[in-house]
Structure formats: C-alpha cells, structure tokens
Amino acid sequence: MTALLEVDGLSVTFPATAGDFRPVRDVSFSVDRGETLCIVGESGCGKSLTALALMGLLPKWARRDARRLELQGRDLVGLTERQLADIRGRRMSMVFQEPMTSLNPAYTVGEQLSETYRRHYLSRRGVARDRAIYLLETVGITAAASRLRQYPHQLSGGLRQRVMIAMALICEPNLIIADEPTTALDVTIQAQILHLLSALQKRFGMGMVLITHDLGIVARVATRVAVMYAGQIVETGTVDEVFANPLHPYTQALLRCIPVPGRVKRGEHLGSIPGAVPTLMGDLGGCHFRNRCAYAHAACAPDPILMNEVTPGRGYRCVVPAAICAARGHGAAA
C-alpha cells in the first residue's frame, strides 16, 4: 500500500537579485492514513512554507521543486490551478495558525463553512447548511444552527479555531495539514483543541501533518516526528525514538531548553543554544547547525551532510555515528 502523502526532495526557492533565498531544502517525508506527523522547529526553519508548498499556496514568485509529491498516488506537481482547487479542501485541507486573520470578517460562519462543501459537491444550500451544522456539532460547538449567522468577530479565539477545523473537515479530507493550530490560544483551550483534533483524526482515519514549535505538543500528539532546522529535516523517527533517544545535536539541545516540572530543578539554568540561525541564502555548505553545535569539528564542512538512516523512517543528519550521538543525548532524553 502506498503512503497517503509522499514527499521527496521538496524545495522552495524565492529568487532574488542578491542570491536565491532557499527556506526549504530537500525535504522528504511520508504520511500514512491515521498517522500524525509532527514537523517541529523554531521560527524561520521553513516548516510553514513546507505546509504551504504542499497545499500549492505559495506566492506566485516562489519556485517549488520536488522529485516526488504525491497524494494517494496522484502526482501534485504540474497540476493546473483548477485541478489543484478540486483537491484542496476535499482531499487535503489546512487549518491555519491565526483564526483571527484566516476567517473572512465580511462573511458569516455559515457562508464560509458551506462554501467549500458547495464548491466540491455542487449541493443545494440547504444540504450544505445541514452539513455545516453537523460539523459544528462535531467540533463541540453548542447551538450550532444559531452560530451559522454569526460573524467571526462575534466568536472567541477558541470558537474560531473550532470553526476553522470544521471548515477543514467539511468534505472529509484524507489529509489535514495543521499549521500551529493552537499557538494563538490559551493553554486550556489549546489542550481542548488538540484533544479534539486527535479524536477527529481517529474517527475519520485521516492522515495529519501538524506543524508546531512546541515540543510538548509533539510529544503528546505525534506518531512520528520530523525535526527541522534551517530549511532541512535534521532528524526523523517515531515520537518515542526521538524523545527517548535524540540523535541530532540540535534535537538534544532543544530538549534541554524546556523546563519540565519535576525533572529540572527550580532556579537551575536551562540548556541554551548559543548563536543564531544562519540566513538561508544560497548554498550554506556542510552542516547547517555547525556554527551553534557544541560538537562541531572539521568534518562538518564543507560537504553537505546527508541523512543517515538508522532504520527505515529513523534518520539523522550528522557525520557522527549513531552510537556516539545517542550517548551524547543521554541527559536530554525525556
């Protein structure tokens, strides 16, 4: 059986006079049905652009290259805008980060919800309306029928994100891409939304790509993890593998940065990553993390570092053998 989503060698380039800006470089992963892949990384690592590239929503002047980009065995490269529009919303849909800005303030919730359904199923208004009510109830909104007449500004942040999720699910897509779906929300609402997303994913058997910077979310939601740094995936594996035995120095450093009640002593220094992310212009040569890595040595440059595959689906992008990496990561493991 082929994977639901197959991505091989995805790159995004913004041509510029001073040199190409390349925020996503040779990213490969796959997602199966019923599986959640978390792409985790800090701001500017290219995770959101990866999502937009999958959806074909990049700005016109950006260039997308991929050796393979397939959804359910169907090639997504070279589709016309119209063909892509038939897939977007129906086969794969997206939940955006800011429910405040990604809903249209000039249309009611009902109009926005049923628009997608009517576009794909060419159904009558009444049918779409019933479907919208059903979906709002599914995402836990009470008095759904009356909510349809409301405008986004009349809803709280948590409710808006629920509406966004309902909108993404209205055609029962096979793949859902959620880009930081809870960043703008309170912790309590965040837990509710993530709980809901996981439950719905199981219920509909969807594949999910969840993009986040929060390692806590990753640990709780993901089946598999891809850690991104400076445009590249630097480590992949199942959630247990990555958290119990992080191999890449960046993953290890990231795990040491977060305070964990009960594990890190109060008032003690947290781990930190010195330096800054390199500018993603042109060719960086060698390991992207080498100027911040505690273990950097001569072999880290100038040749590009390839992904070392330990077992299928488990890999890391570092020149050091896995056994040594594992020993270094011992203190960072969760």
């Binding site: 912790v187 709980h195 709780r220 958290f243 990231l254 795990l255 305070p259 009640p261 990553i273």
Partner: protein
Amino acid sequence: MTDVVLEARDVHCSFKVSTGFMRPKRLLRAVNGVSLNLRAGESVGLVGESGCGKTTVAMMLLGLIRPARGEVRLDGLPMHELDQRDIARRVQPIFQDPYSSLNPRKRIADIIALPLRVHRMGSTDDRRKKVVEMMDMVGLSPRYADSYPDQLSGGQRQRVAIARALIMRPRIVICDEPTSSLDVSMQSQILNLLLDLQRELGLAYLLISHNLAVVEHMAVRAYVMYLGRVVEETDSEQLFRAPAHPYTRALLASVLTPEPGRGVPDTHLGVAYANSIDPPSGCTFHPRCTKAMAVCSTIVPHPVTHGATRHVECHLYSEAPNPAPV
C-alpha cells in the same frame, strides 16, 4: 513579614466598555478584589487565562492604573501618595512583545538610556557608560548600541527591554509574559538571564504567565487568577503536586510536558467561555467546573486555607458554605 516590598490589598478595577453603537456602556469588572504580595528578592507567579485580569493587576502594581477600591502599597507606603517617578525608580515592567514595546525609530542605546534621561541622572557620558555596562550585563554586544530594534532578533530585543527595565536599578520587576513570543531556545536564554540578574541584583519578580512550566521553574509561590479573582495561592511545589482548586487542576492538566505516550488530556472544561461583562452567579467558575455542586451557582465561595494551600476559593473546601453577598 516585614520584607514585603509590594502589596495589593483587595484591589478592584473596572472599565466601561462599549457594547455597540447607541447602546449603553457596560461595566467590565477586570479585577474584583485581589490581594497579593511580593517579598524582597522573591519570584512569584501570577497565572490564568487571557482576560482574567492579570495584566490589569500588573498595571495597578506599576501605578499606571489607580484601583477603584483597595490599595497598592510599595515598600509599605500607599502607592497613590507616591510620585510616578518615585514609583518608576522602584518598580519596572518587562512586556510580552519586544516587537511592539520598543520604539522602532530610536537607537538601542537611546532606548536603554531613556529612563536615565527622564530622571535627569548623570551627564551624557555617564549615561553612555551606564548603558554599555547594562548591555554587557544582559548579554548584548556593545556594537548594537547604535542599531535600531528591527535589526535585532526577538531574543535580543527582549534583552534590550530587560536592560531598559533594570537601568534604574529597581528592586521589583513585573514581567508580563516575558518569553511567550519567543522561540524555545530564546526562551531558555531569557529565563537563564532573569535568574542570573535576580541573584546578582537581588530583584523581586512578579512573573505573569500562562505557561505553568515556566512559572514552576522560576517562582517559589504562585497566584492563580480566574475572572478577576485569585482563586488559589500556594507554593509552586504544592501547586504542582496537589492543586486544590478545580480550575488549577484543569490548568495543570493542560500543560503539555514533553512526555510521549500520555496523549492530550481532556480537561472537561466545556466550551462555555467566561465573560467578564456578564460573570456567572455564585462561583464564577461553576459553568465550566466538573465538580460543581448546587451551592456553586448561587453562593460565592469564601477564601479558606486548605492544608498547605494558603488560599483557595472553592466550596469543596469550605466546611459549611455560609451565604455571602452576591
């Protein structure tokens, strides 16, 4: 407790908010009787959801809003009797968003030196020297002195905000979500810096945050706010080991620690969001509470002491709920 440096005694604050064109304005009770205190050199957390009044409390503690009722005392003196400059010398804020809290048209050195200029301290040369000293202390290279905020990263900007807050050498710093707009690696650097500065300068921090893991790491005590009230006050350790109030429990359950296999907990909070214009009767948390009893919807719970928990407002812990004015 003689070393209390900042104290709020039963402070209230409300705002008139517009409910629409040609409609009467309504009263939003942002803070509804909050008491808290901060001792010298101590870190105290203040946690709660957005809209619970955390920031309004911070504004009152900074002397920027005068409480409608109750009083704020700074070093034992009522705050409203002090001069604003006098307050600013002792209490300083660090805000959440270093992108909007720094003037984009001023150079970094001028931003950090502004408090000195306002207070007419030292000559230009003295100020420059102090700024360089301060930048060194917060880990900013002096070569940024003539840069503008947009040339700096988020973490560096937050360092500028910290330098600006500390240049007057206050004893109290009110940090309003100091790391929530930063990346994980930047967050740990800023938290480490705050810890170092506290040791070096003996600062007292009031740490306002919705990230309970950060509060647990930094603070020794914490206040939990819900709809303008402090519903629980306790030591951080106790808070994490045995939270008393059902709201604190839900908050704690929502903290997603990086432990795989535990899934996302169901907080059972429901979708009934709190509205501070129209607060529920009785205990304001009862519509979302899993342990709500009949009494909760009618009677406001009294604060009680429960074991090691110093202050909790919940009927679960009152022996015999006695009627309180609603």
